[in-house]
Symmetry: D2
Subunit: 188 residues, 4 copies
């Protein structure tokens, strides 16, 4: 039986991004019948519908849309910028949702881990992204919610998650997430 593949989308382009470290740690937790892989967002020009209307989408759009089509589910790992989803991640949602009627997000399962150096744990990004997921028909895991606050305190220099409690939470999250992906995928 073939592995399921999950695309991970990171809402920060910063080279030392806390979110990328959490994403990488999550990848290491993937069960044997799942592959988690990062789909990069940094090359996508800001969405302009003219590209699609003119039939001249940037090559990066085509590549991204193909990558999203190929995966079986989505995991968003994101900080909050200005109490909402960072532009880089919102742009990926917008690019993947178009051209009209050809969204690559439709009908697949998804999850979100919001990550922040502060206590509030990017709550605003977490729930604004969920509102977009309603429209995009991404079937979101509800519980457990994953809010990783004070992230700098749980990572060591190599980007590993250190506290046992944090590791355990992320393991439980991934267990619930893959169970959700299996439920949605098998029944469709």
């Amino acid at each position: 039986m073939s592995k399921k593949t999950i695309g991970i989308f990171i809402g920060s382009l910063r080279r030392d991004s806390f979110n990328r470290k959490i994403a990488n740690f999550v990848i290491s937790l993937a069960p044997s019948d799942f592959e988690f892989k990062i789909i990069e967002l940094g090359d996508l020009p800001v969405y302009n519908q003219d590209y699609d209307d003119d039939g001249t989408p940037p090559p990066a759009y085509n590549k991204f849309r193909e990558q999203v089509k190929e995966v079986d589910g989505f995991l968003f790992v994101t900080p909050e910028y200005n109490r909402s989803v960072p532009a880089v991640l919102k742009n990926a949602l917008d690019v993947g949702s178009r051209p009209y009627g050809q969204s690559v997000w439709d009908g697949k399962p998804g999850g979100i881990i919001s990550v922040s150096p502060g206590h509030l744990a990017a709550f605003g990004a977490n729930h604004h992204l969920r509102q977009s997921m309603v429209f995009l028909n991404v079937l979101m895991l509800q519980q457990p919610e994953a809010y990783i606050g004070d992230v700098a305190d749980i990572l060591d220099e190599k980007g590993n998650v250190v506290p046992e409690r944090s590791i355990k939470f992320l393991q439980q999250y991934i267990t619930a997430f893959v169970k959700w992906v299996n439920l949605i995928s098998e029944k469709k």
Copy 2:
């Protein structure tokens, strides 16, 4: 006495954008002591904090930040993409909010007109943007709210707003908006 200047930010890059047409119509409604001008968003690369951390922001960032600093208030005219703020507009918010401690949005008055070809009138974009404004300390006009739905039905071929009722509403909106800008500006 010098004019006050309002920067208009358009949440769509499409060349035939309904939002740009509404923005242009709104410009024609500016009272004599106000100048409304569009601040373009299309050249801003997607925000990456490394640019600022490295001290090498793209020239378009510098230009944009200077333009925002110079105006006395902000008017956002935006569609909804996937039940939220379009990436192009969220990117402008993110770029203007940084580097840390140097946000160009802070403390100024703002308003939003959401525009859509559908009935729901981009409600989702309207209120997600307002959540960002809390953090950015943009002091938002609350009433009247401006939801322009079914926008294709109120524009003629030249992009003019036709129905008397729509024109009147936009005039009332601008009257309330400039009154709000004056209140906030004079007291600070």
Copy 3:
């Protein structure tokens, strides 16, 4: 094989409530293997945690919690009050979520139809309710979204939905909803 039962929750207590009319119409669309029934909210005192802490919940709380436990899924039919969920419906969510650890909402499928006499179709209530559903672990149907705007125009004097297009949409909505309920229920 036994029927599945769906509890309908109406976000308005008004005796001529548009929402109740839509709810009743929806009941008439239930497929033969489903029963839809209204769970009344009008007798629930405003939630006060002391009731539960003291071990003296109002009888209406007990009755409501039992009714919610017995159904296989939830359908919320609600107007918007002040850009959010009406207090009557939020109260039902709060009462059902407690005492701590004994939520009666957990893990079941749900859907929402928002209803309004205006164009905006209670969008604000629709999405604020969805945010609560994340925490309550109600697994929400994402698409189709159901926004019933200008509701007075689609009802006749007896409270029937008249336009063929509206009837068809509600039929499609219910078809998608029961399919979703079956998916979630069977796999758990």
Copy 4:
């Protein structure tokens, strides 16, 4: 010159409410030209428009509406129930907003302090309430935002706020709030 009066609205009815303790502490911080007083919400029956349509509002509605009319600004101190505004507080907003055209909230300044025993500090309640304030035309202080998380850790047995840092923050918040109230009140 007469004092300005601020009505405080508490989003929890629990007798040992953390929010009431924070509210009481905030009252002690009022500057000499301001009076802060709690407006109680516990007696308000859940809003039903029939009361107003029939011309028979509960006496508690009348009393509440009068109390709200008499104050010069609003301060909401609230926990989060199920990622949104508690029913008790949403009910107060709904009761005060009606009958149609007679809202007692309109045009006055407001602020919100969200309070929680957890890290997330009732972010969801904070911003859902702000969305209602747009419609109700309550002119909200944007910055500083006030998120009081881990509230049990900052209160002593008598309900006093203990950490110097927390006291200082609340003082700064109240200073900004009364300045905002003065700005909005004087110019109208």
